[in-house]
């Protein structure tokens, strides 16, 4: 009886110590997350509901900043361009990343070299990516412009034509983002047992059908996570657009991210910048919920 009571007390003491250790590890990290993530978010939400005088908070105006953004501030156009940017980027990034992962999963010569080479765009900074592609697309001084001219197509300015500028930025973004999808997919494919794939190949006699009906359903979750990350990154993207087009020509690449940058740091209209930032945050939440729903559907 006494021995049991002692053991219970020791167990209780040990659990208390573990809880204290856990708290000591958790709360500093939690405080850091609150400081760097939630505080700016709270600030942005609060500012979006107030007027602003540079960085000073002004009068409370409720949802007036949102109403103004969508009635006279071009809000719908910015959201539309951002959605086109995100969807266009996903349409290029996902097939490219998955396709390359499927190729790299096969036993080909120099596989490690190809993996390193193909992952390279991910380590290039967005600013450098932007300048690189801007030079590449330059109608008069870039290689693509030279190629078009040599083919007798005249002067073709991808980034200076309002009809093609967004496509040019999407291409640059996809080039920078596909390695993430590729690496996620490749890692997931390596968890699929070889026996399963070999058995499926025997059944279907087609590598494509094996991938389509066996491998893909098993790695779908990882691909969705990569898709979520690509979506969030693209919605929040500022650097690439600033470097390549600055939102032009004629507003063709005026995505939400660059509007936040311009309104905050060029026009010093913090209330407008924070309102757009809240819209971006809401769209990110919506997109994430959509993907989670798809994932949950898979699990069920």
């Amino acid at each position: 009886m006494a021995a049991g009571s002692l053991r219970a007390r020791q167990r209780g003491h040990r659990m208390g110590q573990e809880r204290r250790e856990a708290a000591a590890l958790f709360y500093p990290a939690f405080a850091l997350v609150v400081a760097v993530s939630f505080f700016p978010l709270f600030y942005a939400v609060r500012q979006s509901l107030h007027e602003a005088e540079y960085l000073e908070l002004g009068r409370f105006v409720g949802l007036a900043n949102f109403v103004r953004l969508f009635t006279e501030g071009g809000g719908f156009a910015f959201v539309g361009t951002s959605l086109a940017f995100v969807l266009g980027s996903l349409l290029l990034t996902l097939p490219l990343g998955i396709g390359l992962a499927a190729l790299l999963a096969r036993p080909i010569r120099g596989r490690m070299l190809f993996r390193t080479f193909l992952a390279f765009p991910w380590v290039v900074s967005e600013l450098v990516t932007g300048f690189l592609w801007m030079w590449f697309f330059d109608a008069r001084l870039g290689p693509l412009g030279g190629l078009f001219a040599a083919l007798g197509m005249g002067t073709v300015g991808i980034l200076t034509n309002p009809d093609t500028a967004l496509a040019g930025v999407i291409l640059a973004n996809a080039w920078h983002a596909y390695p993430l999808v590729m690496i996620f997919t490749l890692a997931a494919m390596q968890t699929v047992p070889v026996e399963v794939q070999e058995a499926a190949l025997l059944d279907t006699r087609s590598p494509w059908q094996t991938f389509r009906y066996v491998t893909f359903p098993l790695i779908r979750g990882s691909i969705l996570v990569a898709a979520v990350l690509t979506t969030l990154r693209t919605f929040n993207n500022v650097t690439l657009v600033v470097a390549m087009t600055g939102g032009g020509p004629v507003g063709a690449t005026d995505v939400l991210g660059i509007r936040v940058f311009i309104e905050a740091f060029q026009f010093y209209r913090m209330e407008v910048a924070c309102t757009i930032a809240v819209v971006i945050f809401s769209l990110n939440i919506l997109a994430s919920l959509l993907f989670v729903r798809v994932l949950r559907g898979d699990a069920e």
């Binding site: 501030g73 330059d138 008069r140 020509p249 740091f265 026009f267 209209r269």
Partner: protein
């Protein structure tokens, strides 16, 4: 007893002095936020390097701590840092950004310090309107100034047997005559990524024609005959000539790409500022005489547009740790000998008239700076920029882009621009 007390006092004093000495001898420092630290990478870095070198020679106990960031980041970073009161001692600010900082009270007035100078020293320095408040109190001093104007390929004009233009019709005819092959007439763009040069050209050309641009209450006054004429003339360069003197793909590029085009010898004319002339010569590899500079043309010969003079300023943030040392540095940087040397190193417009006594100004290479100085003195611009000039610039380039791309007619675009600017401006 007294001797003992004196000895004790002397020992105590000695201890205090020996304890205080490290603090007294500790090197003092001035932190500067700059877009260009001292170096050899380009002409501006070399000029800043000269300042650092001369400062170290004359003030060995005061260390300069350089904190470099992209030029566009200086103003917004100072605004944010001022809230946290984590600011440097001296900050570089471009003149269009000055009104924001004066209004937001992130920098201190320098008027009292300037008025402590001898009268001739006060009269000698250039004052930029945007660096002063409504009462004319200076909040910063420029360390270099530039005058906007038209850079041109003198060699191509000579070959085409046309003179540098003074009117807009002459300008378009000269461009048409001198262009050819891969060389376009104008390197001029209306893209929000780089908007200041083309937008400022539109503003000063309107002022030269007698338009107000802004009403006395600060709202837009764009729907004028002068604005219509200028926008229509520009649209004709894109659509009214075959081949166009300004191709649409060039017209929708941002301004750094225009400089690249000119440096690559692919354009006859480039609206820019006088400080860029030396860089265009150095980057294009052309001889100095092959690149000239003149005032922006207008519609009336012999009546030049007013000179837009802008520049990089040195200001002291409101919460600076060492404002006196900061002022010592500003005083040094804006002195005649330093200004003369910077002009000779990087082709920068001096902020002191006495700097023109530097031997460099007797050499042919100083021609453009001398022209810019005289032009600015003879044609001062009377225009009150809005608190945030970038809103005005952005509206103007978007308006032009709508017209040049065929989305809007001239009248429609000017009406749209008025509404756009009035919505975004700060009162």
């Amino acid at each position: 007893m007294q001797t003992r007390r004196q000895a004790l006092a002397a020992a105590g004093l000695g201890a205090v002095v020996s304890l205080a000495r490290p603090a007294l001898a500790q090197p003092r420092s001035v932190e500067i936020w700059t877009f260009e630290p001292p170096g050899d990478g380009n002409l501006v870095a070399k000029a800043v390097g000269h300042v650092a070198e001369r400062w170290a020679a004359t003030n060995p106990s005061i260390e300069l701590k350089w904190n470099s960031m992209p030029w566009q980041q200086l103003s917004p970073t100072l605004l944010r840092a001022s809230r946290a009161r984590r600011v440097p001692d001296v900050v570089m600010l471009f003149s269009p950004d000055m009104p924001v900082h004066i209004a937001a009270r992130t920098i201190v007035p320098l008027a009292d310090r300037v008025s402590a100078w001898p009268a001739d020293k006060q009269a000698d320095i250039v004052r930029l309107r945007q660096s002063q408040d409504a009462e004319g109190r200076a909040y910063a001093l420029p360390w270099q100034v530039r005058t906007s104007g038209l850079v041109y390929r003198a060699d191509l004009l000579e070959r085409a047997r046309v003179a540098p233009p003074s009117t807009l019709p002459e300008w378009s005819d000269a461009a048409a005559a001198a262009m050819g092959g891969e060389t376009v007439g104008f390197a001029m763009g209306f893209n929000p990524a780089g908007a200041s040069i083309s937008a400022a050209w539109f503003i000063v050309t309107q002022l030269g024609l007698g338009a107000a641009v802004l009403k006395p209450d600060g709202t837009a006054d764009f729907q004028t005959e002068q604005a219509r004429r200028i926008v229509t003339w520009m649209a004709a360069q894109v659509k009214g000539r075959t081949p166009p003197t300004l191709p649409l793909d060039v017209a929708l590029q941002e301004q750094e790409k225009q400089h690249d085009l000119f440096s690559a010898r692919r354009a006859v004319f480039l609206p820019t500022s006088s400080d860029r002339h030396a860089r265009m010569v150095s980057q294009s590899g052309l001889p100095f005489e092959a690149i000239g500079m003149t005032a922006y043309p207008t519609f009336t010969a012999g009546k030049p547009v007013p000179a837009l003079v802008q520049g990089w300023n040195l200001a002291i943030p409101e919460a600076a740790r060492s404002p006196d040392l900061a002022w010592q540095l500003i005083d040094f940087w804006t002195s005649g000998p330093i200004q003369g040397a910077m002009a000779s190193i990087a082709g920068m417009g001096p902020v002191r008239r006495t700097a023109l006594e530097h031997p460099f100004f007797r050499e042919p290479q100083s021609k453009v700076i001398r022209w810019a100085t005289e032009y600015a003195a003879e044609n001062p611009m009377q225009f009150e920029f809005p608190t945030n000039a970038s809103v005005l610039y952005d509206t103007v380039v978007r308006m032009f882009a709508q017209v040049l791309n065929g989305n809007m007619g001239v009248d429609q675009a000017l009406a749209w621009a008025e509404v756009d600017f009035n919505q975004k401006r700060r009162g």
